[in-house]
Amino acid sequence: MCEAENAKSEKIAKALADVLPEKFISINRYERIANALHPFPFDIEKEQVPYAVVMPQSAEEVSGIMKYANKEKIPIFVRGSGTQLAGSSRPHTHGIVLNVRNLNKFDIFEDYGFLECGPGCVVAKVDDAVAKLGYFFPFHPGSRIIANMGGVVSNNTSAHIVDASVGKPNDYVMGLEVVLPNGDILETGTKGMRRPAGTDLTKFFAGGDGLLGVITKIRIRLAPSFKRARGFAMFKDLKALARGVQRVYLEKRPLPLMMEFMEKEAAKIGFDIKGLPEPKGSAIFFVSVGSSEEEASAKLNQVLDSFKAENPDAAYEVTDLDEWQNLWGAREVIGSFLMQTTGYQWKAAEVVCNLKDLVVGIETAKNFNVGVPIIGDLKLYLYGHIGALSMHPGILIPSDWDNEMQKKANNEIFKREAELNLKFGSCGGEWGQFSMRKDFFVRRYGEVGYTLIKDIKKAVDPDNILNPGILEGYR
């Protein structure tokens, strides 16, 4: 970090003081570093540290920042809490980090049937607020206690929610306020209950990987909450578990809202911590929903019927909420327990299978790292959102590996993830399409698909000012 860089920081801060209050412009060295951090097990480079961090409070301030950045040709990196697991929220070069934390206005309009929130609102806080009023919130990432709404909408991340049950989260996004890279402010979508037919501009930005604009307001439909029933099954044979899930789809069962699984080795750890009996096989647990408890239970039992055809060791409705909390808790603690007991870093991939190949797919995911350079001998634990046919092979990476080794390991994980998702003709459903996954995108959708996105990006952001690097895969 040299004098020239400091001078540039000063210059930017001075210029932006005309756009937003000085207290929301930081050129503090450590604040700049903190806004360049990434959730990868290796250090950031000095070149990633931004010149300044700005925290605008309105679309107008965002607009002013974008206009300044365009004039000066300075990259803008939009960031919330920085939890995106493919690296989309980290800068790859000097620029300005636009932290959305102050865009956190949140209103519930029950009489209109929607809520509006800023991109800086924390997912869990929005979820809790609408849940209190009896509404279901479709965003449920593992990082919900800190992840911001702007990120989950940009990624359209499903996480625990089964896509085929209630749709992708952004199906509930009715409209947006967006600042385009040139600073223009755009409103998309509708305030009515009927979604646009034909071109819906919302779709360019919600699930748009942050390429085309800065989301400054999100309108989400309020959906009535459901009654829930909870189920559990245990399969000695992992293949039987996969066949059970296939049956749920093929036998036209009502798909659960959430359906998680833990392969036996992972289940052993979680069950032990939560004081549950040692699992004899791989565990699956799920939530069925309905407008009444009876309906939810009836739907759940239909799912159990499919499982029972595969001779599970156990398959039953969980009525004891403590047992349920322990099962859910067992799934949640695996990574943290392993990191704490081994001192290693936990890094998971996202392997998504198609329905037909699920039996092969689950075995392949279990052997995710076999024969893979760098990570081949590392310990792996398998768990995931099996209801969405999505699996997380979690790998323990030694903390004492140097930065280069850590980077190589990280790259191998993304590479192997790409190979498997190509094999199954699928794609990740949680962490966006570009950044560390750009090569996958190009292979999956070809140069035709990639060029199309690049051309669209160029049309709205000719100088590649907004979030450069995501599309190029530098990050």
Partner: protein
């Protein structure tokens, strides 16, 4: 030698911080997230990574160093991040890393904050952080009920006692809080237990340790340990949760047969065994604010609630955020001694929580929380709606 020591601290920080996977979960629970402008460096990951990159990129000098100092000394050391990291991530002892960072900054003559330097000088010269004279430490006895005061055994060099009451600096010197030791003494007298206070009590060393002045802390640790051994007490009963925590967790040679208790734990035990009887009950709505150094740092949540259930019954209401989820008052980690810029004052937020619970009295069991919350009531203009009382004060009225 000094360089070696500095290297050791750096290695300790790098080793611990390298394990962090930047999941940011700790930031969700950090009180600074709620009270500051929301910059990342005002949360646990931001603070620890600031120290980490400060070491890695060697920016521990000049303006950068001052910026780092301000970040590192912002932490209240409440421990919410430690609990979160243990529950959801890699189990980093985040507060230990931050305190190691402070140690490093003190060694490099960068820390503590300017206003905290006089605290260290006072600790060194008078054995308390308030620049009060050491020989006035037991003067509080003159301000309490004369009959109660008469029964307090003030232990000279060779005296021994079963229960050593460690009054602590704030309760000894803050005239507004004199009813805290006064009330505890009243309860102890009722119990007719063998207890006493030291004639030459000095600080537990918490402020020195939290500010990173380890050498000074070790002096307190050695001197207090030696004094405790001479007294031959079975237990040391603390008024202040910070002394309680420090004796319990930070003293290297603390006598293994000397039990450390907070007064709420001791008195709850007496209610349990029937030696302390509640004669009158409160008819005002009370709520309890968990001091971080009693609750989050030491998992002592139930004893104060046992007392309140006995003296207030149904009039005891919990705030929405309680026990491990309790919000810090903002006074720990050396912040009692400096003016900290807060967009939303933690103490005011906590007062709002108490009002939302319908309470007329906020009960706490820490002199610093008491001061912070009293200020919060004044600055939020709620003097006519709610007051703060220490648990001891409340209990003394009911026995």
């Amino acid at each position: 030698m000094e360089e070696e020591y500095i290297e050791e601290i750096k290695q300790e920080i790098i080793e611990a911080t390298s394990k962090c996977r930047i999941c940011m979960s700790c930031y969700a629970d950090c009180p600074l997230q709620e009270s500051t402008r929301g910059y990342v460096t005002q949360g646990p990951t931001g603070i620890t990574k600031a120290i980490y990159y400060g070491i890695l990129w060697d920016t521990l000098a000049g303006k950068d160093a001052e910026e780092l100092r301000d970040i590192v000394y912002a932490c209240t050391t409440c421990g919410a991040c430690v609990a979160r990291c243990e529950k959801s991530a890699c189990g980093i002892k985040v507060v230990d890393v931050i305190e190691a960072g402070r140690k490093l900054l003190v060694e490099k003559m960068i820390g503590p904050l300017p206003d905290q330097i006089k605290v260290l000088e006072s600790l060194d010269q008078e054995g308390n952080p308030y620049d009060e004279l050491a020989d006035k430490r037991t003067k509080w006895l003159e301000s309490i009920d004369k009959e109660d005061a008469k029964q307090v055994k003030v232990l000279q060099d060779s005296d021994t006692v079963e229960n050593l009451l460690f009054v602590g600096c704030t309760s000894s010197y803050d005239r507004d809080l004199v009813n805290i030791p006064g009330s505890i003494v009243k309860a102890f007298n009722k119990l007719k237990i063998d207890y006493g206070i030291l004639n030459d009590e000095k600080c537990c060393g918490d402020p020195a340790l939290r500010l990173g002045e380890v050498g000074l802390f070790e002096d307190f640790s050695e001197q207090n340990t030696e004094r405790f051994k001479n007294v031959k007490a079975k237990r040391v009963i603390n008024i202040c949760p910070h002394g309680y925590h420090t004796f319990k967790n930070n003293y290297a040679d603390f006598p293994s047969d000397l039990e450390v208790m907070h007064y709420t734990e001791f008195l709850a035990q007496q209610i349990d065994v029937g030696t302390l009887t509640i004669k009158t009950k409160l008819n005002q709505k009370v709520t309890y604010h968990d001091p971080c150094y009693l609750g989050k740092r030491n998992n002592s949540y139930e004893a104060p609630r046992k007392i309140l259930n006995n003296i207030a019954g149904d009039n005891f209401v919990e705030m929405k955020r309680n026990r491990a989820d309790s919000l810090c008052c903002g006074g720990g980690g050396g912040r009692m001694f400096v003016e900290v810029e807060e967009v939303d004052r933690l103490s005011e937020t906590r007062v709002r929580h108490a009002l939302e619970a319908g309470a007329e009295i906020i009960v706490t069991a820490c002199p610093w929380c008491h001061i912070q919350l009293s200020d919060g009531i004044k600055t939020s203009g709620n003097e006519n709606k709610i007051i703060v009382k220490d648990m001891a004060h409340l209990l003394a009225d009911c026995i």
